[in-house]
Amino acid sequence: MLLLLLLAVLTVTTAAVPVIDRLPGRWTGWTLAAVLALAAVPVLAAGPGLWAGGAPVEAHLPWMPSLGVGLHLRMDGLAWLFCALVLGVGALVTAYSAGYFPPGRRTGFYFLMSAFALAMTGLVLADDLVLLFVFWELTTICSFSLIGLSGPGASRPAVRTFLLTALGGLALLAAVVLLWVRTGTTRLSEILGDTAWTQDTAFTTVVAALVVLAVFTKSAQFPFHYWLPDAMAASTPVSAYLHAAAMVKAGVYLAMRFTPAFTDNPLWGPVLITAGLTTAVLGALLALRRHDLKELTAYSTVSQLGFLIAVISVGTPQALIAAAVHTLAHALFKATLFMAVGVIDDRTGTRDLRELGGLARAMPVTAALSALAALSMAGVPPLLGFVSKENVFEALLDIPHAPWAGPLAAAVAVAAAALTVAYSVRFVYGAFWGGRPTRTGDDRPREAGALFLAAPVVSALSGLVLGLGVALLNPMAARAAGDATGRTAEPHLALWHGLNPALGMSAAALLLGALLVRFTSSGERLARYRLPPVRGTAVFERVHAAVISAGVRTGDATRTDSPTRHLAVPFVLIIGFAAVVALAGPDFGPPAGPTSRPLDWLPVVLVAAAVLTAVTTRSKMAALALVGLAGFATAVWFLFLGAVDVALTQLLVEILTVVVAVLVLRRLPAGFHRVRPSRTAATAVIAVLAGAAATAGAYALTGRREPSAVSAHLLDNAPADTGGTNVVNTVLVDYRALDTLGELTVLGVAGLIIIAVLHSAGLTADAGERPAVSRTNPVWDADSNTVIMRTVARVLIPLLVVWSLYLLMRGHSAPGGGFIAGLVGGSAFALAYLAAPSASVARIRLAYPAVIAAGVLTALLSGLLGLADGSFLRPLHADVPLPWGGHYHFTTALVFDVGVYLAVVGVMLTALNQLGLPRPGADAAEASPTAGRSTATGGTR
């Protein structure tokens, strides 16, 4: 309950930041600090109970029960330590922020700081791996956003940091999922409590490697260390909290958590200690070379994190105690130093050691607390840093793996510690005592106000107090290390252990450090040497660029607006598919009857002739006519197969296609483009293979079964069910009217989109060849010459209309129906259009979109009427008595068909009127006969 409340308070606070931030002045920071401090109180209060051996505090709330993932929280000794750190340092830093920033609204900053506190608290309290991961990623997002928030220049570092830490996050995700799948649970305590799964060394090694990756990226271990200095683009409070005290410790926390599972793994220890010590030395070395105090502090953080990782690798309770105490010590001194850097920056306007010096006089408090923190960092008694570092040395000496490992590791650690001493001196001496005094006189810097300094003072003094009273930390450290390792830990934290190797190492480190300070001018000389030119950010950018260029190349493969290439791929796939099926050689059974008749060869030959010639001709007109022939031959096939309605529709559609195509072709050049022979050959190969596949598919996969049940039902029941005897038509308007409704919608939409597209894009200028004959020749005169067509059309048009209505009415019992009738009606309009002496006369001034819409609405209406009989599109029947006796069998299917009719006619009207618009430029040509003639000379073949 306590833990849920804690998270709830933090959540509510975060959500409330936009409201809180309306407070005037610096109150947002103070309020947040107060909340964090208050939140820390019950946590701290729970400490003694835990140290006394009490059960961990737990809380549960369901989240994703179907996955078995819940809001399981658990505070044991280890979690307590980190939780206290997060809240405590959080309170200090937010309080500091209030003074750091000039008054004004900073909603984003405070929101993210608060969210970060929430995320970090959640992370250390999570007893569910998934939950842990969620909070882990949230800290990453907060870090990314906070860095980016600090200004335009910070966006690149933010992105770099984000991507790198996200890489680690994904490794963690993989580890989480692997463990989950392996153990069947996401409960961290259960997984770590029962480490039967660690018997599988291969599996454990994989998981360990993933966790290592997560830890290293989050805690800035070599070779990923570079992000941390990069992240210094963020404002100082962010650096102090996220990039020194809290977020970077998430890796440390994770490594400590997983210690029981991985200690025995052959990968874990060596990798951790190698990387840790390398990082410790490298970080310290780099810190010593910095001029920017913030960068120095950042590299120092890297180095200290290296110490922590190295000591965790040892895996013994002693080592974990050292890690726990050093985590605490580091949080305190590093937060102090960052805050001090912020103060210096604020007061002097610079962080560059070359411009700073002798600030101690002007800023004595800052100088004092910086010195306290630096001494703790350097491991000088009686500060907490001394105790923690000595424990680290001691633990390292006890590396269990090999007898030589301990001394070697300890030696390296001493070297790193010596460097630490050196850069600690560089920081404090360089800024406060040495160097040229920073500005003098009235311009000289002044000490910061009490409220600004309050937070660093608290953290600096804590390091001193806890160092002096370090024995008080024993129960806490014991519980933390015990909970981390699963073994009992017996801490003996004290300022004085007697004369032991660790003390010697401490002394050695201090001595060596002093020598370094002496002979390198506090590192100043080192700064002149060039280090190997490998910079982390540069490597990152190179990898980044490589990925992007790989991406560009990937995109290049499809970077074309020519439909052809996009169309070729599916064809090739189908050919491949057919080949695979053929090679598998499945038995599809014998044909259920004879598959051909002699007369069939007539359409075969016609189709073949049409297709062969259509593909070879370079004349668009010829191609159009030949494709039309192929359509006619197809219609013959339909007739052969007993599909009269289909043949009729096919014919009508074919002709209307030709009519429309002519309207389009006249605007285009008469010939097709030339194509390279190689491309023609490739195309031909694909075409022939596709044709073979189609033939094989059609032959093998059809005609090998008995007539279907649905076919039998239709043929047996159509008249009884629907009152119709043209079964195909009953399928269209009764049984599967939904299909027809869709089809009619498609047709109607085609009409609309033709209008829409032409409305927005317009037709191309006419590219067809102009007639070559003089305009004064009698053959030109359209008014006279169309008299024949007009006169015949005047007879034919009413004939077509009547005929179409007849076809509409009889569709249910004979070939016909809405579509066929509509197409015939449509051809009446086409005829009227063609016969007119000019395009403007030809225009049919009907609201054709309305005709289309009326058609669709009529069909829908007849469908809705069906609801009266229990279903949409269920036809209603009525026998209408006729005045001359007998009765007419009326069905709403006919209404539906009327809708179809209207839509078809509407679309034909649309196509003719829209595509038949006068040719752009035609009027101009008429106005100037010379224009007509000049085309005439060029236009003949």
Binding site: P603, G631, L714, G742, F819
Partner: protein
């Protein structure tokens, strides 16, 4: 077999045209391809019974499967709609050309 052959010839021609330059050839290719698909639908109903499914005119036994015929009718009209639209596209913008250069 004859029907399958027709389907194959139509498909081959269609594929060839579709893979050429220029919108008009592509459109014509698709017209052929839809013929092929429609014949395939007819083929799916079987080719042994070829009587027109108009009841009351002849014996029911030899009648062709009406369902694929209805399918084809629907498919023809849909293909027609798209063809008309594609022809419109061919007449807009850059005209027929579909490629920048060969």
């Amino acid at each position: 077999m004859t029907l399958a052959l027709t389907i194959g010839v139509l498909t081959a021609g269609a594929v060839y045209l579709i893979l050429q330059r220029g919108m008009v050839r592509i459109v014509l290719g698709f017209v052929l391809l839809s013929h092929a698909a429609n014949l395939l639908l007819m083929s799916a109903g079987g080719v042994f019974h070829r009587g027109a499914p108009l009841l009351g005119r002849s014996a029911t036994e030899a009648l062709a499967d009406p369902l694929p015929q209805a399918f084809v009718l629907t498919a023809i009209v849909i293909a027609f709609s798209i063809t008309v639209y594609m022809l419109t596209l061919a007449a807009t913008g850059t005209g027929d050309e579909t490629e920048d250069a060969s």
